[in-house]
Symmetry: C2
Subunit: 344 residues, 2 copies
Amino acid sequence: MPSCPVPISEYERVLLAHGGGGKLSARLFEKMIRPCLSNPWLDLSHDGAMIRLEGRRIAFSTDSYVIQPIIFPGGNIGELAVNGTVNDLACCGARPMYISLGLILEEGLEMEVLWKIICSVREAADRAGVKVVTGDTKVVDRGKADRIFINTSGIGIIGEETEVSPASCRPGDKILLSGKIAEHGIAIMSTRTGLEFDSPIVSDTAPLNHMVEKIMASGAGIRVMRDPTRGGVASALNEISRSCGYRFIIREKDIPVAGAVQGACEILGLDPLYIANEGKLLLIVDPGDEQKVLKIIRADPLGKEAACIGEVLDSRDKLVEMETVIGSTRIVDMISGEQLPRIC
Amino acid sequence: MPSCPVPISEYERVLLAHGGGGKLSARLFEKMIRPCLSNPWLDLSHDGAMIRLEGRRIAFSTDSYVIQPIIFPGGNIGELAVNGTVNDLACCGARPMYISLGLILEEGLEMEVLWKIICSVREAADRAGVKVVTGDTKVVDRGKADRIFINTSGIGIIGEETEVSPASCRPGDKILLSGKIAEHGIAIMSTRTGLEFDSPIVSDTAPLNHMVEKIMASGAGIRVMRDPTRGGVASALNEISRSCGYRFIIREKDIPVAGAVQGACEILGLDPLYIANEGKLLLIVDPGDEQKVLKIIRADPLGKEAACIGEVLDSRDKLVEMETVIGSTRIVDMISGEQLPRIC
């Protein structure tokens, strides 16, 4: 066994932030997991792997869900787990087809709660048009898990012509967002902290595959798609910028945020750019196709508030900068610690 | 939401036995999960789903691993997770190709332990000839998981002519086993109970796909293959018997069990037929191909002690009976409670 590549003097033990989708998550993956398991598919570190099976292009993705609470405003862990994997596949440019369901249950979980979650899995699968074809159930003793954890993995088909990859980004490309940000994370945090609002903030958990399919069918030049979950829009943009090498600029005034969400962020001391979304699409597109793609997204029930929020700059320094509402600019870095543990 | 189909007066909460691979596991799947998620692939309730993707036959399987302890005689949770999914795919008659790796880590897990486990994942993947192409890491707060849980899902390719399914079983078919049983479960139990033996009992965790590939390539008539994990050989045979409708008979004297394992079973009050294996293949084959298949298995390093242990009877009552060493017969039922929690 080679010696452990993450200096144990620095992090002798796993921290919550190693699962937060920010700098420490990236470090764990880049310094330990990827070098150890290295292969061309994993090295791409996309939301899912794009593989070939007897000549056909397939997307394959996995995600575990450990959200707390398991039932939250706007959804529960069951539909979240289906939508999350459907969205990862869609962001690979794939048509999601089949899903697996791995349940880890804590002894003592109420059967009615499990039933509610399984029903939501079914409803979400129907809505996305995927089938749950295989599964597994494990039970651990009381106190050794937190009610229920779910893993979903998924398979989708990628068209032969489809090419979505950060490497295809070019200066001038436009950065689009399908709607208002930070709703999932703030819905969860409001529940945990007992915050109440006049109009309750609900999770945006939803399947993006139908919207993506329409975009792909239009023939528009799509460079990259991401669903900005853990770590939010800021972390997703930083990841893409690092992959393609270019600097991005985004404009704060153009980023859609609901008033209630903005207010909750101020009360909680959170930046909406770093808050998880579970039903929003972030895209980088050919500048000539900006209006065409926005029109398609806005015609979708999930994309009414789509906006162009920025563009790719002709500078190869892998930074994301933001023009603020007061006209100054600041660097939007990856999140470093753990802002919101167990958000998905 | 339809009302919960498992009467909550009977089981209001999830019990450990709902994950034990026996009667309660089957009940949870058959009464709740399968009816709710019903589709032709899931309804087959094989170790994995056999699906079609643009005309190609694919096996897709998932398993979560919650074993305690995570490092045990003969292996650790990392290689167990790879081998388990490789074996599920192989038992569908597939050539395993791609694996996903979903990690749920407990805050505070030693980085060195995680490194050891990831290295074992790599080694096991290399041994089986599969690639870990996608993954996900989540961290939960201390006390909300038990060090590490792993989900692996996998994809394999099934040949066009391959037909393995319980429905193909016929009276007279032979039941074969690739080697000595109960080693994995007893290795874990010995560790947990502090039992020590002159020659330590170690887990049999191993990838069966190379052996299966040789068997399939021989053209022998293979009805069903299973790797008898949770619930052991007894539960696997009961599941197959229920699927195909026939009665099976097995002969106790022909079932390979190591002396030390037999002794440990007696001390611990356990029946080796119900103990988990992680590197054994259970097959039902055309009687004309019995010797040919045994020869292939015995030529494999993992199959030296392969044996014919019984056959399919011409009686459609879905029972498994055993001729004991003293000449009597008894019914070998599915396990009902939870004999060995968190064995895989």
